[in-house]
Symmetry: C2
Subunit: 379 residues, 2 copies
């Protein structure tokens, strides 16, 4: 890599614009209900080539959005959630690939979700929004990919719930996907992840400010959403990371306060996570998206994991992290084994990391090479 | 074991009575505050021998109480929390040992705690109850052991927070303890356990029904306490146990309801745990006891774990469980290693179990022999 190239890589994708598309035709949902009109917010990085053969769809996790890379303005202090991975010379090399990321259906970052206005009433849907599934999220994305004039995706890529969507693409639309990148994910939600999600939902729905979902004209259920987020955060971190980052350090003093209030540094950190999540996320979206995650069960849909994996046409790269106890390596190993039994080309790497489930977002260096090489074999 | 003996063993300790003792002299607390009068509720099983040399103190975990074994009446449907372990022919053999268990200071099962009446006001203490520590709990127990005329304990025994108290006894009163049984425990609360406890406390204290702790004349903060208990319960179980017990089974139907409501069996289980805990436990006690747990840090108290373990006079038996991710084996191993370095007699067994942290309460067979043999070497 030359110095000039390094400089460019450092710059990333630069300034990006949020875009959106709206479809008036209702989307038929897995529940039997239909939803319309339907808007998806998305961003793109790089250029679609003449043959339309270099498109990659990035799929975000529970709390993510369409803003995967770059800045929205020169003064934007925060880059997109996977910025280190997307840009010239990065794993998702925008000199070579056309990268797309959309906010999921049910989300609160521009795509249609429970905070959107129900055209029938003119009021926000709230808890009248239909319950959606990972399949529904992907069916909405199909509209976007069609609208962009893309017949075949070079790759679909995502971690955690993003991996659920990538797996849904690879099994429901196998002829449109050349490669799937599945990071820190699983073919179904385990009962333990359902338990955590369920406690978070209960916390939101028992917050008196939830008001049956109709809180948009009032103070939102901040306490409930904060608890849900704090639970989530502990599950995203490894014990090792919490120990290294915070240990038993007190936040402001050296001696215990002998008070019921928070005083350990790890408590202040969680507090901050809860507060900042409230500033950017809608509690109802949290309910709908976690419910969609809980329903996620690819083996049940097709009879077995092997039957599901037999549907895959393209190549698959799986990455898991040894300290991830929320989506443990065994879940990725099971997918890799099923693909192998079905004679599907698959690479699986378990990376060593102290970062827990968060590693797919934070451990960039270890993943860049694997992902870059995998994409190069597809291109 | 003869058939008659087996029959007796099956019967357990039979009918037991809750007893209590009250001291008017205030107890000086680690915080510098004092608390009095002070009541401890306790139960005893078996008989103290003439030399007073066969007494064993059982120490309960976060949600436990003085009722370790037997029934309170012939119609009592539930036996004590460690009944399978305590009785004629059981590990804590009541034919040989005099077994004592008291509800901790700060508890809500008869001992002085935040739901007790403050003699100065005639009202329940609520959040005016002083913050206590594991050391304070044990200093209260010392009064009980003194009052029972017992100079030396054959053993102190407990799991989880019960192990904290046993370690406190063994290091603060080493000359009074011949043996310590430490099950699924640690010499300090890890930042991850602090995180879980803190989220539970926040959930209680943000429940509007908490009312700053003065809810005793009103509906208690059931939602907050239920969330705290549900979080706890998931941490007590291994992923393997949740998978085996519930899997992704729906509770009442075979098809998803496409609703935000609970529908998976694991959700109904957690719901039940939350509800039933509310029926028997005081939310303020939950705050104070978890805070005492969070402060638990024996290495900090004595400068290092080795310095703490150098204080131990007696023998130590440590048991941990390989699926316990809340109090992982490494915590027990560290204690065992420190005792060994300090030339203190110690046995450590890591038992294989799918039951997670709960194993110390549920995996009786694997522990009976180890504990029974250990006690026999002390006697």
């Amino acid at each position: 890599m030359t110095a000039a190239r390094l400089e460019r890589a450092y710059e990333g994708v630069g300034i990006v614009q949020r875009q959106y598309l709206t479809w008036t035709e209702p989307l038929e949902l897995e529940s039997g209900q239909s939803l319309g009109p339907l808007t998806l917010t998305y961003e793109t990085y790089g250029r679609l080539n003449g043959e339309g053969s270099n498109a990659i769809l990035l799929l975000h996790a529970l709390s993510g959005d369409a803003h995967a890379a770059g800045r929205h303005s020169p003064n934007d202090r925060k880059v997109g959630w996977w910025d280190a991975m997307v840009g010239p010379g990065r794993a998702f090399d925008t000199d070579r690939y056309f990268v797309i990321c959309s906010n999921v259906l049910g989300g609160c970052m521009g795509s249609t979700g429970p905070s959107s206005r129900d055209p029938r009433s003119g009021q926000p849907y709230g808890a009248r929004f239909p319950v959606i599934t990972i399949g529904d999220m992907v069916r909405a994305q199909v509209r976007l990919i069609d609208a962009l004039g893309i017949k075949h995706l070079l790759a679909v890529a995502g971690g955690s719930m993003g991996g659920f969507q990538a797996l849904e693409w690879a099994t429901a639309y196998p002829e449109r996907v050349a490669g799937s990148l599945l990071l820190a994910t699983a073919a179904r939600s385990s009962p333990q992840t359902i338990a955590w999600n369920s406690i978070g939902r209960r916390s939101i729905m028992r917050d008196p400010r939830w008001r049956g979902g109709d809180y948009y004209d009032h103070e939102p259920p901040c306490d409930g959403l904060a608890i849900a987020r704090m639970i989530g955060h502990v599950t995203y971190l490894s014990e090792q990371t919490i120990e290294r980052k915070f240990g038993r350090r007190l936040q402001a003093t050296t001696e215990p306060a002998f008070s019921l209030e928070q005083e350990f540094a790890v408590e202040s950190y969680l507090d901050y996570q809860g507060e900042s999540f409230n500033a950017r996320f809608d509690a109802n979206s949290y309910l709908y998206i976690t419910k969609a995650m809980d329903y996620w069960d690819l083996p049940a849909r097709y009879g077995s994991l092997d039957a599901a994996m037999a549907r895959v046409h393209g190549r698959t790269l799986l990455i898991s992290f040894d300290s991830d106890w929320l989506y443990p390596s065994a879940e990725s190993q099971a997918i890799a084994d099923a693909l192998t039994r079905q004679h599907r080309p698959v690479e699986y790497a378990e990376l060593s990391s102290p970062a827990g489930h968060d590693a797919f977002l934070t451990d960039i260096d270890a993943q860049q090479g694997l992902i870059g090489d995998f994409l190069a074999t597809l291109a």
